[in-house]
Symmetry: C2
Subunit: 411 residues, 2 copies
């Protein structure tokens, strides 16, 4: 169902969740490549990672001490040698014997417990003990962490440092990961120059391109920042052709009532098929979704605050889906409202807010009094966005609210 | 004050917060370089970023509509032209005149309000209006977001996408940032091979190096993974010399009671000065801090779980300090305990836990029943670490606890 371009009726405004579901349903994960552990960090695993060995590889001592036969109790024993990391004791611990062990060294055959070195008094060839051993004590059993052949990491996982460590421990130097989705960013506007250049009268330095490029890169995508394009359908059409080979084309600007036809007319030359172009949200009502052939297109509003809010609500989930990530939905937290809010209208609202803690450690979300969607300083100073559902009633201080945290690395 | 190496008395165990404070006090931020916006993303700003222009650059329309003189009320007006983005209306809006404006276009001289296009009916050269204008309505005032010359971003800020967008809007193409701190990673152990290689009998694939390298890179540092070094003082000494030029040397392994002398002996050949080597925490008691000349040294435990916990509690704060970041302390959240815990001893405890939400949206922290510090699978599956203070009493389900979230990008 394609929403009509001309209307302004409520029925044309798509709910946020439905818009996101339609965007995601239209996407399939990008292809797979083999990556070293260092390259794989931050990427999404594309195939199960199987352990290539048992971990621990043998029964290992969990402490520095002495490997003994537990059944012999606290009796004095003969020092029969040592089992060091990488140099296991070759023989068997016989009756009345103890073998020196260290954290991580193999517990030799015959022994079934480790006594702590602080409970041991070596004297010549003899060792006296002041504690009773329990069978299995201070021993890490072979395969206790994982067995060779088991799946230690599931596909769809975004690989952080701990997952990389686990893959390394499983003796895997290479992992199959999805390649980074290529996101072409096309910013339109006669009034826009690149930062550092001289804007025309009344013009501005374009912030959407660098901002979205940084966001895409931080989210594991490969941003592809196209030159700024004038408000002309032919120029937009030419730029859109340059995006061939991308996994997603993101435009900014040119989709509100006054100028929507520009971006759509430009995309139309490449055979653009519209899905929808308006969402029941604030900021960010005019947001375009469709395709040029196989290339999915997201058209974000030109206003930088609206563009950023739409990016975290729609572009990042799309990027996660393209990257093969299991979890695509934005993660909301709960907070207590720090300032009263009036009832909301039919548009789902995202209010910039500071997050703080009360004495009990609970998160307080304090909305900025001025929500003007042109204020980038307010966006940059925000710790989160308070979500106000469509038709929400007036809210009081202390009411629970859902918050999308913005104080994340890279955001 | 250097703690004695031989003792095992409680007094030798440094509290976590004190250990971190001593590590941080010993560090100064690394040098500064100039970076493009794309390079600057994820880095720490080293000098105030000043706006190079007013934003908005002039009084701009916040909507699509007509610029009018508010004092004339809802009267019909003459269509005097248009002010488009990048092509402002050249003249002045005279009495009885209206000028077509679009979101972001300059409100021409003479006009002091914008009437929405949905309230306007153009007919030939005339425009009728069905709404009353208020002075200032739908106008974004020049400099309302920021004025030329003001500081839009303060030094010490880790630059995310929103900050990059703000810098771009301020017309800054270059930012002064701290260079990435170089962190040399030296993993020791006769039993360790690089992932993919064949471990010796009872040996393992080393996970600390790849894990910490990924963590350092995700945190904005430049990891420098040295070859794995045998448990020999001379080999460790040679490797430590290779770390010359790093901003921080991190070792793993060789600092517990059984083998501490190895790393310390190796470092000593380069003139290592010890600050402390034991912390009152679990996991991770044996942790070394000191210097080789100007090079700060952190010696993490060899156990991967202990190494990771020490990395988030000490290495990442150190990295933030080196990178010039304003905020260095770990960020704790509050959660409700999901399972009872016994009283704690003198060591501050960090328990791996799953985080979930209850029906009210509050975070529940459910500690894993098995906290064996060798279990990397448990670490990888954890969403957070429950902090248990030294000598904390028994805790019941529902009690508030402090949690260090691990479910962060890159971790």
């Amino acid at each position: 169902m394609a929403a009509g371009p001309g209307g302004s009726k409520l029925a044309d405004l798509l709910p946020v969740a439905e818009a996101r579901a339609r965007i995601l349903a239209d996407l399939t994960p990008v292809g797979v490549e083999v990556a070293s552990l260092a390259q794989a960090a931050g990427r999404v695993l594309a195939a199960p990672a199987l352990a290539r060995l048992d971990q621990p590889p043998a029964d290992l001592s969990a402490m520095d001490g002495w490997a003994v036969r537990a059944g012999e109790g606290a009796a004095e024993r003969r020092d029969a040698g040592a089992s060091a990391a990488g140099q296991p004791f070759a023989g068997t611990v016989g009756p009345g014997e103890a073998v020196r062990v260290f954290t991580g060294s193999v517990v030799p055959e015959g022994a079934d417990a480790v006594l702590l070195q602080e409970d041991a008094s070596p004297a010549g060839e003899r060792v006296r003990f002041s504690a009773m051993p329990r069978p299995g004590q201070h021993i890490r059993r072979r395969g206790q962490d994982f067995r060779a052949g088991v799946v230690v990491l599931e596909p769809g996982l975004r690989l952080g440092a701990r997952a990389i460590g686990l893959a390394a421990a499983a003796n895997r130097a290479w992992l199959s990961v999805h390649r980074r989705p290529r996101v072409a960013l096309l910013c339109t506007g006669d009034e826009i120059v690149l930062p550092g250049e001289d804007p025309p009268p009344g013009g501005i330095a374009g912030s959407n391109g660098p901002m979205l490029a940084a966001l895409v890169a931080a989210a594991g995508g490969e941003p592809w920042l196209l030159p700024v394009v004038r408000d002309e359908a032919a120029a937009i059409a030419a730029a859109a052709r340059e995006a061939a080979g991308a996994d997603l084309l993101v435009t900014t600007g040119g989709v509100s009532v006054g100028d929507r036809d520009l971006v759509r007319a430009g995309l139309a030359e490449g055979g653009f098929a519209l899905d929808f172009w308006r969402i029941a949200m604030r900021p960010g009502k005019p947001m375009l979704h469709g395709r040029i052939g196989a290339l999915p297109v997201l058209g974000l509003p030109g206003n930088p605050v609206s563009a950023f809010v739409c990016a975290v609500l729609f572009l990042l989930p799309a990027l996660r889906k393209l990257a093969g990530e299991r979890t695509t939905e934005p993660a909301f937290a709960t907070a207590k409202l720090g300032g009263a809010l009036p009832a909301n209208d039919h548009r789902e609202d995202y209010l910039r807010a500071r997050l703080d803690r009360d004495e009990a450690g609970e998160t307080i979300a304090l909305p900025f009094p001025r929500q003007d969607s042109a204020m980038l300083t307010t966006l940059a100073a925000s710790d989160g966005l308070i979500q106000r559902p469509s038709q929400a009633g007036a809210a009081q201080i202390g009411d629970p609210v859902r918050v999308l945290r913005l104080d994340l690395p890279g955001w």
